[in-house]
Amino acid sequence: VAKLDIPQGTLELMILTILAREPMHGYGLSQKLASLSRDNFHVNPGSLFPSLYRLEQDGKLKAEWRPSENNRNAKFYRLTPSGRRQLEHHRQRWDRIAFAIASVLEGA
């Protein structure tokens, strides 16, 4: 089954959601995204990393280097308070969009 591309603008929301639960490194994040989407999403690291860097630059994420589960040094990202607010905001917006789309589809 062909994988789906992640819809425009939703990658950040998913990253923030996953990292809200626990800090994670880039590879872990990509694996988690794939498994949570039941392998429907193809996560391209070429767009994952730029998003991570941008969120870090904007102060939504904070990163630190520490050993991973298999003792390899990796860069772990976690949410900052500002990131949490951003997630809240994104989440509300997404809920509205989803509700609106569902309403249109049912009403048609």
Partner: protein, 921 residues
Amino acid sequence: MTLLHRLGSVLGWLFHRKRAEQGLDDELQAFIDMSAAEKVRDGLPPAHARRLAILELGGVEQAKERVRTYRHGGRLDELGRDVRYAFRLFVRNPAFTVIIVLTLALGIGANTAIFSIIDSLLLRALPVKEPGRLAIVTSTGQSSWTYPIWEEIQEQADIFDGAFAWSTYNSRFNLTPGGEAQFVNGMWASASMFSTLGVAPVLGRTFTPADDLRGGGPNGPAAVISYGFWQRHFGGAPDVIGRTLSLERVPFTIIGVTPADFFGLDVGRAFDVAIPFGVEPLVRGLAESRLDGRTSWWIWVMVRLKPGQTVEHGTTVFRGLQAQIREATLPAGQTATELEDYLKEPFTLAQAATGRSSLRSQYQRPLTVMMVVVALVLLIACANIANLLLARATARGHEWSVRLALGASRGRLARQLLTESLLSAVMGAAAGLLVADWGSHLLLRQLSSESVSLELVFDWRVLAFTAAITGVTALVFGVAPALRATRGAPIDALKDHGRGNAGTGRLSVGNSLVVTQVVLSLVLVVAAGLFLRTFSSLASVSLGFESDRVLLIEINAQRTQIPLEARVATFEQVRQRVLAVPGVVSAGVSVIAPVSGAVWSRRVEVSGSTIVRSERSTGPEGFGRTDARIPEDEPLAVFNAIGPGWLSTYGTALLAGRDIVERDGRTAPRVALVNQAFARKFLSGASPIGQTVRTLRLNAPAARNIVGLVADAVYRDVRDPVLPTVYVPLAQYDGDATPVAPPEVTLSVRTTSPSPATLTRSVSAAIAGINPNLALTFRPLADQVNDTLIQEHLLAMLSASFGVLALLMAAVGLYGVTSYAVSLRRTEIGIRMALGATRGAVLRLVLGRVSTLVAIGIAVGLAVSVWASRFVTTLLHGIEPSDPVTLASSAAALALVGVAAGWLPAYRASRLEPTKVLSDI
């Protein structure tokens, strides 16, 4: 995100760029490691797993590149790298860089320089309060007035927001009491001038009506000096107010200093000292004062319109007072027709926000022509840059493919090219700035040997405009082809390299650029040819006198105590004394110096003449400087009053009769000499000797007997046809301003020295021995003659240099496009040669294409030149605008340059080794 955050990020990038790069590397490496480890766990061999992991990442370099562009400061980083890379490229290919930058510099610089001059001379508003409300009072074709008329206008000044008068006529004031004069630029001003203009002094005060009283104010004559003169002459001394300044041996008290940007009202002539009209009788002497002269037209009048008042409305209001003003100032000694004309001539106001300038009418057309020429140069420069960049874009096609393959995005490449183009434009503009600054000042110095003082304000708008045009050219032709080259997949471009089957679209763009270049270059070369031929024809005009080895000495007797009646005798004494100076061959005095621009013209009645007398003249009549044409069909002749020895000093031949001798004194029978042109005009070429000539004026003096015929000589200007000239003895001078003797004469001295100026000191000493108060000005006659040709010389020089430049650029363009065409057709040429084409045939093949381009260019260029040359007709002399010789030789020059430029690539093509070319396929 807060601003602070962003700033921190940029700063962080600046300081920790290395560390950030390292961190990114490590992180991506970790990703690959972990991904590979998992794949190994799933049972893949380690090497394969790793390769798969990298592929998933989408290439390490591409991923990095994408992260970088997201990072703040990353843009700056890229810009820095682009600029550095562009610089490296420039350094690696200096010839290319130099050509581009020079082309840009000349295009930008020349345009800015010429426009700066045009702007200062023609366009810029006076630095006064609300210049838009200033209007100058004019009449049919002229704008000078008599002082009595100004006095009448002054009475009515309240119909406007003020009025004022000024004059620069005869206002070079001598600062020294005697001997060789040291002149300052003076200006006569009415009391209301500064206040009406709204020019406030930086020091002291300006004139009040009391200063302008006849004979000077209650505290004696007052002067306002300019900021420049204050700095130059007084070293900017703060206590300059109240000091005394000697002008024409009259002591003036300095009462004020004007602001630095106020140069007066005459663009191109900055004033040093302004003095009120009222003191004129003190300076010129009561006998020669013009204040009450109702026929002395020497002042200009401006009014300040009321707010919201238009020039038309102002004119209507002003004309209501016309009859009153004219009636009150009727000149004496005029015929009824002349008085009728005087009363009828209507006053008209003209917009005067830019001041007035005698330079304007003289230089407007040549400057406009130069502006067109440099604009063409700019166009050619753009075409040239476009051509060069097109050629280079082709050469770099491979580089783009490689960079694309290595992970550069298309936008990234576009930015790189943009940076390169902008960098060239910036360097070109910087160099252009230098060219413009240097060029405009050089040009100004060349324009006139008289001190033209123009405040050249650098015109940033033009600089920006020309830089923008060239920048956009560089952009369009530098970026577009490269982007087109990279449109396909990188792998295609890589494969393509060296095969030579690229589309021909780019070639046709190049071809049309080259044809355009040839057309424009031909136009410039034709212009250069026309101006060069004009100059050489003027320079070889027969003057009718020998201008070498003659020194002109202007002698002004106005400020001496010598009585009017004794002046001519003094001049003769001076001449005798100068004749005794070693190195002097001969000397003669005259009222008019040839080619000085001065004219003394009168309507005359000649006995036995067929030309009917006329009541009025459409040509100039009087004494002064004018460019007006002397009409052929009116009985106008020009005059000169000469002393003994004058004709022989000039080497002008006496053809019949006798020369003027000392015997021809004031009381002796009145005589005159005339030239051949006079005999032709008035007597159909018959001998004038024995005929009489009389000036046509009311109360005109008695007729003169014509006693000699002299050869034709240039009187005012080498461009004039020889004017019918009457020479009268100086002792029998009867000019009407000062009927007995002129205030100023020119002593012409023929010397044995090829540089007559070396005699200045000894001649000066000899004259001081007669009277130390005579004011003297020295000038070699040859300089005076050459000066009249400055404009033509300048046009010829400039257009010739630009013409050569255009030819060079056309050659570069042709060379570029031909080389490019040859590189595209390498394979084809190789096959042709393999099939038996001779080297000669290949040469003909390539040259044939070049010739076609050049031929098209020349054909179009000739048509454009013939059309455009009509606009320069008035600047040409002795040559038709569509002069076949010029057109043909210009076309030949271009054809030659074209073939020469095409020869090298054609020759190279003919030397191709077919085996080598074919093995490349």
